[in-house]
């Protein structure tokens, strides 16, 4: 699992590369728990190369969801592979989180 952050003005573009399992979700949790991240108003998560997400990985996003919502930070997922999206959907997270098809759409929604 490789996590890279790209910062543009008030937007953090976080790219997830590989499999988000029990061990790599710890790294993700550290990244999302960083107080620095609360300075930005938009977090866009690029899931193009996210091949698999375990329940532990989902748990990390879920645990931070409320915090971002309270701080009025938008969390948007884009470029999600079908099988990963299916996992989000089965759990019902598609109704709770913003999942869009591509970057442009993500930018548009983020700027609303």
């Amino acid at each position: 699992m490789k996590i890279t952050q790209d910062i543009k003005d008030s937007t953090v573009i976080m790219t997830l590369d590989g499999e988000l399992d029990a061990s790599s979700s710890v790294i993700l949790d550290e990244e999302l728990s960083d107080p620095e991240i609360m300075k930005y108003s938009k977090i866009l998560v690029d899931c193009r190369n996210l091949n698999y997400i375990s329940s532990a990985g989902l748990g990390v996003f879920i645990s931070h969801l409320q915090r971002f919502e309270d701080a009025q930070i938008k969390l948007i997922f884009f470029n999600m592979q079908d099988k990963v999206r299916n996992v989000f959907e089965i759990l019902g997270l598609d109704l709770l989180m913003t999942i869009v098809t591509n970057y442009e759409e993500a930018i548009t929604i983020a700027d609303e």
């Binding site: 949790d29 879920i62 019902g92 997270l93 109704l95």
Partner: protein
């Protein structure tokens, strides 16, 4: 002979107490051997006694006839020689057999054996001779016969002494032998016995022809006498005791030699045993070896303490390295370390500090008080040299130590630490300068490194025991969890159910359960706790409790999910959530109600429409949204079932199982499997799916808990 029996009896007794039947053949050989040995020995004793008595008789006869010149000479010298040889051989061979019984490395007991049983004979013989002198001197008469008897008795004692000494020396000489020495000894024995032929043929061994030969033989003896390895194994005390015994044996040799020299070529006697070359040579060997042993013992006396120290060091190393097998604990190991290092370095004072966590405390003390320790430690702390290897062989030269005015002049600090841990520190003090030379320091360091090794191994052993205990507890957890999952469902004529559940680890987060709500209604729940292992297992147990608690009140599935979410919100970790599906089947209405909370879609076969599909319903997992807004995220569905319909309920471990190429099993393949098998019994459908899954993943490729339930509704309805 009695000694022989004693020697064998315990051995036989021990054997007979074991399995007797097996040992019977062995035992008979032992008996035969014993009989043979006893026979030979008694034969030898008889031969010795008879030959000696005959010899005495013949000598007396000769003496008598010599006194009366007119008498007929009955006795023959050749018979005398023959009897002498028979006597000597039987005594020597008897001792040859007896000496084999001497075993072990208690060499001073060999010497004591020799002295008490043989060397004492010399003192006896001299006493006998003086008694004869006194009695004849007092009575002022000459008694050639009495003199002959004394001479003859002394001859017997001499041969006995020589035989005993000869074979005890053989045992010692051949200690730590090699092949060469063994052969050399056998040749020596052979050569020595061959000199008896000279006696038999009445040759005079002092003849010039034999002199060079005897000279060579003497050299041979000298060479043999250099084999004194056993002396090195004597401790100082034993050596000094041995010196006394060896001295006494030397005196015995001298007495015998002197006595028979005195009577050599005597006019008073008809027989002269100093003519027997064998005895002279045997005496030469016994005397030389005794002298050599005496001198070597004497001169090695000052160095024996070094050998003693070395062997004690070795013994202590053994004790340290074997302490694990002997089940010792750490403090016993430190005891050994403390005692052995003090002995090895000859330290006058010492202390050992044990480190436990962040505390150090003095656990061992020798000739030093806490006040002095405190002062030394303060000084070391000032110099910043605690817990490192440090040697100071002249404390007086250092102003700091001089100011402490300690009675010691040398100090060594030996930390007991591995790369990871500090176990303690050992301080040794001596009252002389240069007290810790390089040799001693090497020995001390070997002790400390052995101790470190032992302590680390002890801790490893303890750790593995602890791990063993954890494994046992996990086994119990597995059993407890298995008992939480129902093994049997109520069997009824209107539906059949087949289940499959495996956990990836000892305990898992998957679960399923049922509750009979009324006569015609049953609630079935399946769930999956996020994560794996112990924490998942705890939440799973919690969920089971919630299911049974809430469903007692008989509520619709969506209401159950709302209440379960509210209950779990209070106790679930932030990153954990639970997915679940609850079905309430009512066979009187021929339908079921269900709600899905983020759980895998239910696979269904409709027999009427002959269609296989997934129920696509919305529903958020439990514990994701932890407030009232969850109520908007759960849907309830009602479905009428037909006889022959099949419902497949499972966890994500099934559809997300992967093969070697990292492909997922997937919903599509599961669906395909049901289209192929829906006509089978529930149990067979389940087996077909599981077999297909195992074919797909390959063996031993279980990464997530897997649960699968197959429910088939049957056409026959029970009578209401």
């Amino acid at each position: 002979m009695f000694n022989e029996r004693k020697f064998f009896l315990p051995f036989i007794k021990q054997n007979t107490t074991n399995s007797q039947k097996q040992l019977l053949p062995k035992l008979s050989t032992v008996f035969r051997f014993m009989l043979y040995k006893t026979n030979v020995k008694s034969l030898l004793v008889t031969a010795a006694i008879v030959s000696w008595v005959l010899l005495l008789g013949n000598v007396l006869l000769m003496a008598e006839s010599a006194r009366q010149p007119g008498a007929i000479k009955l006795a023959l010298p050749y018979i005398n020689n023959l009897l002498i040889i028979v006597f000597i051989l039987s005594v020597f061979f008897f001792q040859r057999f007896s000496a084999n019984n001497l075993k072990g490395i208690d060499f001073s007991s060999y010497l004591w054996n020799l002295f008490s049983k043989a060397a004492i004979a010399a003192y006896l013989s001299i006493a006998l001779y003086f008694a004869y002198k006194l009695s004849t001197g007092y009575a002022r008469l000459q008694s050639p016969l009495l003199l002959h008897i004394v001479y003859q008795v002394n001859f017997g004692l001499l041969v006995y002494f020589l035989a005993k000494a000869f074979y005890i020396w053989r045992q010692l000489l051949l200690y730590h032998k090699n092949k060469f020495l063994q052969v050399a000894w056998e040749w020596f024995e052979l050569l020595l016995f061959s000199t008896l032929i000279l006696t038999l043929l009445n040759f005079n061994y002092t003849n010039y022809i034999f002199l060079p030969l005897f000279g060579l033989f003497g050299c041979y003896i000298l060479f043999l006498c250099t084999n004194l390895k056993w002396v090195a194994y004597l401790s100082f005390n034993k050596k000094s005791r041995s010196l006394v015994l060896l001295g006494a044996i030397l005196v015995s040799c001298y007495i015998f030699t002197k006595f028979f020299q005195e009577f050599a070529d005597s006019e008073q006697l008809v027989i002269d045993y100093s003519d027997v070359g064998f005895l002279a040579l045997a005496m030469l060997f016994v005397g030389t070896y005794t002298l050599a042993a005496f001198l070597v013992s004497l001169f090695s006396l000052p160095t024996s303490s070094v050998f003693e120290q070395k062997s004690e060091d070795l013994l202590n190393f053994q004790r340290l390295s074997q302490s694990i097998q002997q089940g010792q604990n750490e403090s016993q190991v430190y005891n050994t370390l403390f005692e052995s290092t003090i002995k090895a370095s000859d330290a006058t004072a010492a202390w050992f500090e044990m480190v436990r966590g962040n505390n150090t405390h003095v656990s061992h003390l020798l000739n030093i008080n806490n006040d002095q320790i405190e002062r030394i430690r303060h000084l070391l702390m000032a110099y910043n040299i605690q817990n490192i290897d440090y040697i100071n062989n002249n404390l007086d030269r250092n102003t700091g130590f001089r100011d402490l005015s300690l009675p010691w002049k040398s100090l060594i600090i030996l930390p007991i630490k591995s790369k990871k841990h500090v176990f303690g520190t050992l301080y040794l003090l001596r009252d002389i300068e240069q007290g810790f030379d390089r040799e001693t320091v090497n020995v001390l360091r070997t002790f400390t490194s052995q101790t470190i090794l032992t302590i680390e191994n002890l801790r490893l052993v303890a750790e593995s025991l602890q791990n063993e205990r954890y494994k046992e507890e996990l086994k119990i957890a597995t059993q407890v969890q298995e008992s939480l999952i129902p093994k049997t469902f109520p069997t009824d004529s209107w539906f059949e159910i087949a289940t499959h559940a495996v956990a990836a680890k000892e305990v898992g987060g998957d679960f399923y359960d049922f509750l009979q709500l009324s006569e015609s209604r049953i609630a079935i729940i399946i769930g999956d706790v996020s994560g794996k292992g112990i924490s998942a297992a705890f939440h799973m147990a919690q969920m089971k409790g919630i299911f049974h608690g809430l469903m007692q009140q008989d509520m619709p599935p969506s209401e159950f999910m709302k209440q379960a979410n509210s209950a779990l919100s209070r106790c679930l970790e932030k990153t954990s959530f639970i997915t679940s599906s609850l079905y309430i089947i009512d066979y009187r209405m021929q339908g079921f109600m269900f709600a899905r909370a983020g759980h895998c879609h239910t696979l269904y076969y409709n027999a009427m429409m002959e269609d296989v599909f997934y129920f696509q319903t919305d529903g958020l997992g439990l514990g994701i949204v932890r407030d009232k807004s969850y109520n908007n995220h759960v849907r309830e569905m009602y479905y009428d079932y037909n006889p022959g319909d099949v419902m497949v309920i499972y966890t994500d471990g099934i559809v997300e199982a992967r093969n070697a190429a990292n492909d997922e099993y997937g919903e599509d393949r599961l669906k395909y499997m049901l289209t192929q098998t829906y006509h089978l019994e529930a149990e067979d459908i389940k087996c077909a799916i599981i077999n297909d899954l195992e074919d797909f993943t390959g063996p031993d490729n279980l990464y997530d808990d897997q649960t699968l339930l197959v429910i088939k509704f049957k056409p026959v309805q029970p009578k209401a």
